[in-house]
């Protein structure tokens, strides 16, 4: 048993980390690379890597190269906390990720205590409402997106009743909890409220349930492959009502997997490599060339996150960790000033974003943007 303590001590020593010299801008990406969030996290990681490569090709940030280290969270709060703690001990300049709100919730107090910016991929409404000044989003939150959808359903589709299909994790539940009051406000009835499991393989029973509810439209809020499985099952059960989604349902991956079952899907898109914005389309193209598959919105978010750090640093003209968060808060980043941000982005005081977004439809396996929705507070 002495050898046990020796072993523990040895591992312990390996856990203590040497201080880093400030010759690089070290970003630590704490991200879901295994577990339930692996697909989203991999996209984000690739996007962040691409951003670092782009920045370094043009001389880095204030002349210093960017270095990104990725730590897997296993989509587990305890591990995420360890990884963020490690990032802070390693003197990270800023923290990127994670995406799932459980892991975000477990780690955001730590970056707050260390007064270091944490730029996350989460879309759930809750975590920017806790008054933490160091947390920043990379996309508009569900609280901003869902009213747009409700409005679209009411005004464009003229739907009187809606079937809601959601995945029972923080992402899906969050979206569902945000849209229900909006639907009520718009006077739209919820015909059926179907919860599904993360990683669920078979959606036949859910599709039958939705079909029998006979609503005017179906709101589908699932992760990528579950979206594709549901669309296929819905098609098999002969559901002809319009399928409405938010970003994921109209994402490249879903289109690829669902095939022609995705045709006719409509909805709101926050970030898309098919958006009528040359910078986004160019990013999408380069991503595809580099990694062999299409980026979803998480890839775009990872890319933007790095550029948010770059913009803030160059704005304050010094490598000041705490300053990054101060500079980002309340800032407006224009794509004309910093092309890497891809779209004009307004950062609110609480870390929420305000940005243009799109209404889109799937036609012949392609995402077609119909309308560009302006920012909420233009």
């Amino acid at each position: 048993m002495k050898s046990l303590w020796v072993m523990a001590a040895a591992l312990g020593v390996s856990l203590s980390l040497p201080a880093q010299a400030q010759d690089k801008v070290k970003l630590v990406d704490v991200i879901e690379l295994s577990g339930a969030g692996a697909a989203a996290g991999t996209n984000w990681k690739n996007g962040a890597d691409m951003a670092a490569a782009d920045i370094n090709a043009k001389g880095g940030i204030l002349g210093k190269p960017v270095e990104i280290v990725h730590y897997d969270t296993q989509t587990n709060p305890g591990n995420t906390r360890a990884a963020v703690q490690r990032a802070i001990d390693e003197n990270a300049y800023a923290i990127l990720g994670p995406i799932f709100s459980g892991p975000i919730g477990a780690s955001m107090q730590i970056s707050q205590r260390a007064e270091i910016a944490q730029i996350v991929g989460g879309e759930a409404a809750g975590f920017t409402r806790q008054g933490n000044p160091y947390i920043f989003r990379t996309s508009i939150s569900q609280a901003a997106a869902m009213p747009k959808i409700a409005k679209y359903m009411k005004e464009t589709l003229k739907a009187g009743s809606i079937a809601v299909v959601w995945v029972n994790n923080d992402f899906g539940k969050g979206g569902r909890d945000t849209i229900l009051p909006e639907l009520e406000k718009a006077g739209i009835k919820v015909a059926v409220d179907v919860s599904t499991e993360q990683g669920q393989a078979d959606f036949t029973a859910d599709a039958i349930k939705v079909k029998n509810a006979n609503a005017d439209a179906v709101f589908v809020y699932l992760n990528e492959e579950e979206s594709a499985r549901f669309l296929r099952a819905a098609k098999q059960q002969g559901i002809t009502k319009p399928m409405i989604g938010e970003t994921t349902l109209l994402g490249a991956k879903v289109l690829e997997l669902a095939g022609d079952a995705a045709n006719g899907v409509k909805g709101h898109v926050g970030l898309s490599t098919d958006a009528p914005i040359p910078a986004l389309q160019d990013f999408g193209k380069r991503y595809r060339e580099k990694y062999g598959f299409s980026s979803d919105h998480n890839g775009v978010k990872g890319y933007m996150a790095v550029f948010m750090v770059k913009w803030a640093t160059e704005k304050q003209k010094k490598l000041d960790k705490k300053g990054v968060a101060d500079t980002l808060r309340g800032a407006t980043i224009k794509a004309s000033e910093e092309p890497g941000i891809l779209m004009d982005t307004v950062i609110e005081q609480n870390g929420d974003l305000d940005r243009d977004s799109f209404l889109a439809e799937i036609v012949n396996g392609k995402q077609v943007i119909n309308t560009t929705l302006p920012r909420i507070k233009p």
């Binding site: 690379l33 295994s34 339930a36 692996a38 697909a39 996290g41 991999t42 996209n43 029972n168 179907v194 919860s195 599904t196 499991e197 990683g199 669920q200 393989a201 078979d202 036949t204 029973a205 859910d206 039958i208 349930k209 029998n212 990528e224 492959e225 594709a228 499985r229 296929r232 098999q236 059960q237 002969g238 991956k253 690829e256 997997l257 095939g259 598959f293």
Partner: protein, 292 residues
């Protein structure tokens, strides 16, 4: 009523998938008392290997298929038995079960890092058309799975009961010591069941992946349901897997329809507990002798 039938048929179709995955559980349990926690990954991996072979070597699908299947049978049929099961089997059920757990992590992470973290579509061997059955729609793919599951069980029953090789295998499963005395090549028989298990996993993978997509994490759900199906049906009977699978599939489907979608997973589990308390050996299982 039409609605009920639709749920029922959907449940049977899903249940057949679980059954197909559960057969392997019962097979390896019978001959070597192995609880394979990697069974779901066994069903996930062949499709991924095939897509990988296609991607890496630019082969046509059929050639990629052959290579993928051959590699899988070699590593996860024979290799699994020789490298993992053989050295551990004499130390009891638990360490081996844990080892298969580690194996499942390797398979899952390997598929993710070696292939893709994202789901990929997989071509279907069967047309994807829909047909109408008793007023409910069912796809030919699902129908094919039902047919194959029944056929696989039927063939296995015939093989075990009706052929010399099969009887030797059964004798090995029931009492290896006596079988050895009777001159049955016990080692080869056990190896045969592992190859059979791997082959069944390949069949399941080819049928399931077009519907569920090929993704590294698919094994988690399929493995859990197959495990529950095997217990409910009876671990020591191959046909138990079929009964258990369909029962679980139908329970799941009806639970989602009539009880609660949030708690749908609870229904098969409550069924599992009830059956264990009333008839621990499973619905179709043989009673194991009581030690006195």
């Amino acid at each position: 009523m039409a609605e009920f039938i639709a749920y029922l048929i959907a449940g049977i179709a899903t249940g057949s998938i679980y059954a197909l995955a559960a057969i392997g559980f019962t097979l390896v349990w019978q001959t070597s008392q192995t609880i394979n926690f990697a069974q779901g990954e066994f069903v996930m991996l062949p499709a991924v290997l095939i897509l990988l072979a296609v991607k890496l070597f630019g082969l046509p699908l059929w050639a990629g298929g052959l290579i993928g299947i051959a590699v899988f049978l070699l590593i996860f049929g024979a290799g699994f038995k020789l490298v993992v099961v053989d050295p551990m089997i004499k130390h009891g059920v638990l360490p081996l079960a844990i080892a298969t757990m580690a194996l499942s992590i390797i398979m899952k992470e390997g598929a993710k890092d070696g292939f893709s973290a994202e789901a990929q579509s997989f071509p279907s061997l069967v047309p994807t058309d829909m047909i109408n059955l008793l007023g409910a729609s069912i796809s030919l793919q699902h129908l094919a799975i039902i047919v194959v599951a029944f056929a696989a069980i039927g063939l296995l029953q015939w093989f075990v009961g009706g052929t010399r090789l099969g009887r030797q295998m059964q004798a090995t499963a029931q009492n290896p010591t006596v079988a050895r005395i009777l001159g049955i090549p016990v080692e080869r028989m056990v190896l045969l069941t592992f190859l059979l298990n791997a082959a069944l996993a390949v069949v399941a993978s080819l049928l399931i992946s077009p519907i569920y997509l090929a993704k590294f994490s698919n094994g988690e759900t399929i493995g859990l349901f197959a495990f529950i199906a095997a217990i409910v049906g009876g671990f020591n009977q191959v046909r138990g897997a079929l009964v258990g699978g369909i029962l679980i599939g139908v329970a799941d489907s009806l639970a989602a329809a009539y009880i609660s979608t949030q708690y749908r997973l609870a229904v098969p589990l409550v069924l599992l507990v009830a059956i264990i308390l009333v008839k621990p050996e499973g619905l179709m299982g043989r009673k194991e002798e009581r030690r006195v």
